[in-house]
Symmetry: C2
Subunit: 451 residues, 2 copies
């Protein structure tokens, strides 16, 4: 169950890629956003490359404002729901982990615990839940709120939410189900543990109606960048996503979260850190750069302004693309993605770019490498060997081509260097990540055998 | 798209069957409750027999009281969550409809709309949602309530819930997605319709982030027996389950709901009625009766008292099995399943049975037939030809054997009589049921073509 010094790899599966113009540059003539065969192909491609995890990001709600910009691509506007999508993918794959996002701000803990426990059974131990608090007012409005609750309240709710879900997953002990046809005992009531939770946000009294998941507990992912987000990860997560774009920042993040983990009395190696990593592969560096430029040129001013405006939490629609962004329209602080907001503020204040230059250069965090397999593997080796992360969340600007090229060119290079597995050695996502299967909180320590 | 006078068939897929002792009598030595391969086999078996629908019942919560009885079987205590289970089954089947229960009392409309829209895409138009208001206090407690809200309030909430879900499913018009790579128009904002709902129970402002489902709207099922339940079915459902156990009652029910449908200004034939039907097949009538007796004898007094006590909403645990049930312990009215409650009260008052006789004879509604393929098909033909229903919800006391025998012996007999399809003629569940694909509420009537 121990990982032998290899890195972990996850694939962020956004329809036609992370880049807002990814879909305009695919070979496909038809929409793949809701096409289960297409997603099965992506997951199988990543599985053939022995990825640890296939990952679906999510926001529970479509934008209803600025449709001139948001109607210009599928991402987060037209997508299959993560738990149903991953359950279907469980039947087209054998080994790869299947992770998806669900928001603690807009789900009931009982329903969510069931969905991921069920996915873990259906996939034979490959489920992961990415715990997010959501960062969009438009999602909040779909659930009866006027806007998003404040950041601190969202994280307090998330913490309580995760506690409840974990307790529910432990309802049945591993050996509770007897299936004793002779006596009629289906399960042992002494190994069945209802909860009676009453907290600041939730009252949950009851028991989960599903046997303990194959992984004991599905893998918990966290991706918050703020202090509250890091604390939640350090206390409860098995896996955390980071999106720093320099080695130094990533290294500082790695050291920071591991120190936090230790402060919660956990072994720091039980929280795995995956760094967001956006590779563009080419036969040569020039080819890779050319691919990137082609994509950037497909970004219209409307979309460019909207992408920057969203993360800056400011309306840029009236501005001249060829002038610098005026400083007085920048809000005092962020309520959504602190990390992206600060990155933009920094670029605006220190680089004196025009708005057009800003949208052409700005990428939401993540290390970007344009180059050959060697160029890409060099950076991955530097980060991994230098202990800035335990592996990478591969974020392809374009799909499916991004995973095809990464699998065919970069993975073999990593394997040649001994940095990446040649094959899976276990069957569950916890096995791939080198994480132990958690004992039930109710399990009695085994008595030493007599004699 | 019009059904040619054939009946519809659905399979109620409770782990090892509807009978509380079904699991004790299977060939299997290991638990199949969370085994996706087992459920895939059941669904494929029903699909080979050309069933319209594979159906998963559900309650969001396990019992935590009377575990001495509830630990004696898997049903509702250990089960895969319906939408994830059905999404996985969508990948192991091609044609059969996939229906599951989800409660309007304990879900958010936005989350539920997404889950079933996603299932409809994943299954290429085979999804159905069974709208229930739940009838268990133990479920209510898992969602922060002290007990179940009153019946009328639950149904008022259900009505509003269904309205919201249907409106969300219509977010995108059928031709909203353009996927125009040249111009960058992914969808047409004029064909994208957010809702702004404010009602007695919910405030939902937003838009569903998924293209219109292949069926336009997934099939809506309703199974309420009360006046409120029938009204909800008549106003909103495509399919309704009935559980009367005599032809006369079923016929009265059929006429009643169709009259209600007409009062809502709908064509009565747009609501299909499936009668609950529990067949036990044998080479001879004696063999079938023997099978049934074997099962009944496996019911322990603890389980027998609990099954009756639950539906009677009374605690029978202290009673002598060999005395009649005292009339003074019967509550004045039911808050859970009115139908079952009344059936029991009738049996107690008019048949003067002992408690043991009561649990041995009592079945939750549904027409039961023990006999040969001819015996079983005779009753089905009588009900169907006599317009007491449009088809049957086949409720096997034991699985998988129940569906195997029904498929191998009863289905061919129905086909011989011209009562049942030889093969699917369409691809969606709406096709199988003979229900038109609903137009989007926003669709403009086509202009007559010029010239
Ligand atoms: C790789 C990665 C994936 C993420 N996926 C999601 C997602 O699916 N849904 C979401 O709402 N937020 C997602 N986030 C955002 C984070 O959960 C978090 O909200 C954000 O980084 C802001 O951090 P903070 O909440 O601690 O301020 C993701 C972040 C990263 C780095
Ligand atoms: C075939 C059939 C399947 C049903 N499935 C469910 C179910 O999965 N979950 C549930 O809570 N109730 C289920 N019910 C119960 C009904 O939804 C309803 O609550 C019950 O018949 C009582 O009717 P009333 O609510 O109108 O009083 C089912 C009923 C029938 C006949």
């Amino acid at each position: 169950m121990v990982k032998d010094g290899k890195m972990s790899l996850a694939l962020l599966a956004l329809v036609n890629g992370h880049h807002s113009a990814g879909w305009r540059n695919t070979a496909s003539d038809t929409d793949t956003a809701t096409d289960i065969d297409y997603f099965t192909y992506l997951a199988q491609r990543a599985e053939r490359a022995k990825f640890d995890l296939f990952f679906i990001a999510d926001t529970p709600g479509a934008r209803i404002d600025h449709l001139d910009a948001y109607s210009r691509g599928p991402n987060y506007m037209n997508c299959l729901e993560p738990t149903t999508l991953l359950s279907a993918l469980a039947r087209g794959t054998e080994r790869i982990g299947l992770g998806g996002t669900a928001s603690t701000s807009f789900y009931e803990p009982f329903n969510l615990a069931r969905l991921f426990a069920s996915l873990d059974h259906i996939s034979h131990g490959r489920a992961a839940w990415n715990v997010v608090t959501s960062s969009n007012d438009h999602a909040a409005r779909a659930f009866g709120h006027a806007k998003l609750p404040p950041h601190a309240e969202r994280y307090a709710r998330a913490k309580e939410f995760v506690e409840i879900v974990r307790a529910l997953w432990d309802t049945y002990e591993d050996d509770a189900i007897r299936f004793d046809k002779a006596t009629g005992e289906y399960f042992d009531p002494a190994k069945f543990h209802p909860i009676d939770h009453e907290g600041a946000f939730f009252k949950v009294r009851g028991a989960l109606n599903i046997a303990r998941p194959p992984q004991g507990q599905p893998v918990i992912i966290q991706a918050g960048a703020s202090n509250a987000g890091r604390e939640l990860a350090a206390e409860t997560a098995d896996l955390v996503f980071n999106s720093d774009d320099t080695f130094e920042e990533a290294k500082a993040y790695y050291d920071d979260v591991r120190a936090r983990v230790a402060r919660f009395g956990r072994d720091p190696s039980t929280l795995k850190v995956l760094a967001g990593f956006a590779p563009v592969w080419g036969e040569s560096k020039w080819e890779a750069e050319d691919k990137h430029r082609t994509l950037q040129e497909l970004v219209t001013p409307m979309v460019g302004k909207q992408r920057v405006g969203q993360d800056l939490e400011a309306d840029l629609s009236g501005l001249d693309p060829d002038q610098p962004v005026p400083l007085d329209i920048i809000p005092a602080s962020a309520n959504q993605h602190t990390r992206y907001f600060e990155q933009l503020v920094h670029m605006i204040k220190h680089e004196r770019l025009t708005l057009r230059q800003l949208w052409q250069r700005y990428e939401r965090g993540n290390k970007r490498v344009l180059g050959t397999a060697k160029d890409i593997a060099d950076v991955m080796e530097e980060w991994f060997a230098g202990k800035a992360c335990d592996g990478f969340m591969v974020i392809c600007p374009q799909l499916p081509v991004g995973i095809e090229e990464f699998a065919d060119h970069v993975v073999p290079e990593l394997q040649r260097r001994g940095l990446y597995r040649e094959d899976y050695s276990g069957t569950t996502l916890r096995d791939h990540l080198g994480l132990a299967r958690p004992q039930s909180r109710y399990a009695r320590t085994a008595e030493p055998a007599m004699g």
